[in-house]
Amino acid sequence: MNPPDADLITTAALGELRHELRTPVNHIVGYAEMLLEDVPATEPDRRARLEEALGAARDVLRLINGALTPVEGRAIPAAAVTELYQRLRDPQQRIVRSVTAMMSTPGTILDTQFAQDLERILVAAHRLVPEGKAPAPVAIAGSSGGGVAGQALILVVDDDENNREVLRRRLVRENHAVEVAENGRRALEMIAARSFDLVLLDMLMPDTDGYEVLVQIKEDPATRDIPVIMISALDDMQNIVRCIAHGAEDFLPKPFDPVLLRARISASLEKKRLRDLEKEYLRQVDRVIAAASAVEAGTYEGGALGEVAQRGDALGRLARVFDGMAARVKAREDRLKTQVEDLQREIGVAREASREMAVPVELGGQLVAGQRFAERYEIVRLVGRGGMGAVYRARDRELDEDVAIKTVRRELVSDPEILERFKGEIRLARRISDRNVVRTHDFGESEGVYYLTMEFVEGITVRELIDTRGKVGITSTLAIASQLAHSLVIAHGVGVIHRDIKPQNLLLDGDGVLKVMDFGVARLMEGGANRTEAGLLLGTPAYMPPEQFLGENVDARSDLYAAGVVLYECLTGRLPIEAGSMMQLIARRLQEEPPAPMAVNPEVPAAVSALVMRLMARKPEDRVQSAAELVAELQALG
């Protein structure tokens, strides 16, 4: 007799199946070959992994061609397809392993396109053997290497020897491994010793009956997930209900019907398989959550998600994306750390040098050391002088901490309108609270002296750093750049434009933290009375964007121009345009483009040089458009 049609594959279905399987192979081979073209010989590990994926994909193709080619027009049995899916698992796993290994190699940052293409290979690999096509074999506890699909380890508990034997024989015929127990106590001992996939439990037994055994199995967290099917006579419905209420999976009435027996057992085993999958899934979700906590704590190691990242579902994708993000964040942090360390070194050297060169600041300010000022400050010493007035280090007696006091020359604030505008600006600046901004505390007047108080920072200015070092190293300059950009994001965010970003206004403390001074102060200097005063503006126009010295609208992009000039000076040790007078400077800036930093200092990378030039573009619309954009550009530079 011929086998029934249902067990054979039609030619049309065969074509479909070949299509379904060869399409993902096409993706895997195509993308892997393309990636191989991109990976240079200097990266043998990555090449080897791609070769491994390619080799496995070719094995897949051989298996497909071997199993799905009809010989002399004879149809192919359906069982051959099931077997094919089983055999595809190994090469599929080889592909998944080599691709995920590339995705989560610690310390490796993949190019976005490369990472996307790897993701595509992974998707294709999972399409090869979708879930359910080749169920994972049910593991048999105590056996050495899993088992045949569908096989399970079942415990039959019955005090009647005939019943035990009938059940055992039937189950063995169904390919299951079977153990028997003749009473409840023995059953509990066996369950404690081995991990069964299913228990068939007779209800009525002397001493410990089925119900008691069930209760004990379900009370123990180690065994409560083992499905239990109660065996009972149909007329014992009350006990059946009681058992199901206590967690029994199902019941089997005596005498056994073989079809019903098979159906209920496979349904229970399938439910257990799904439960196990779910538990495994939740365990892996926990690992992703733990990884997130590790990232927060700074202890995450790339690739730690291991097999979670190999899953073909959304969780696997989440784990891979997470791993990639964590690797990028770590790489960025490492880069920033190196930049700051370099900067700290340079600051250390510069401080040594400036100590040697230190000339005592002349006295002669309005205030003198030891003087009590504004009823709460004790002047420690004069630390600097500028166009606006003098700067003192002072002790705040009320808060018992050092502050900087900046006196403001009387004529700068003699116009009430200018004074009001200045106060408004200071009110805004006081709202900026950030580690990269020198905090402004107060503005006041005492004994006819107008003054500002602000955070006192022990450190050197970028001016001193450039002057003592000649120029600043590339990584240190990038550390200055990213902190300066960050401070501008914060200040521009509250509506404060600095208007006078220059090396003298950028303080560096001993830890390499940059602090921008004088937010809101420059506004005062724009008063008409001071424009012509010698020395007041001379230092500044070099950093001014054309729109500022032409008296046009000044906006956030004006600060970015000044930042560009500061970075230019750090990288090259000179100003982009050098001129003998302010008029000459303005004229030259309007007429010529300065040489790119890399033309002055060949060590400056092209991308850094181009970014600085873009910050210094003559027209605001040609510049980097916002401080946030500058932060992003700097991050992209690495």
Binding site: H19, R22, N26
Partner: protein
Amino acid sequence: MPTILLVEDNEMNRDMLSRRLERRGYTVVIAVDGPEGVAKGSAGGHDLILLDMSLPDLDGWEVARRLRAPPIGLRIPIIALTAHAMAGDREKALEAGCDDYDTKPVELARLLGKIETLLQRPS
């Protein structure tokens, strides 16, 4: 360099094959299904067509037939691509008006050989 019209409904196949061809210097124009393949093919401007056979609705064989038949009467080479790879597929493709036939997974060197041969053929 010659322009190739790639008619392919599968996104990954399109992405992969078009990028691989572009790396070899070809310009690739994409059509994502049969009707778009017929429309773009009949509009002209290409030197060769790579045509997937298992497109939904209007399949590759039908696309080839329509492009070859009047009123379109297209004469540029068409290479059929299929992942079925069953006996008889090749003959069916040639009957529909394709000039050559290749199977997926694509062996790039083999496919490029076919493309170059057909492009050199006097039309």
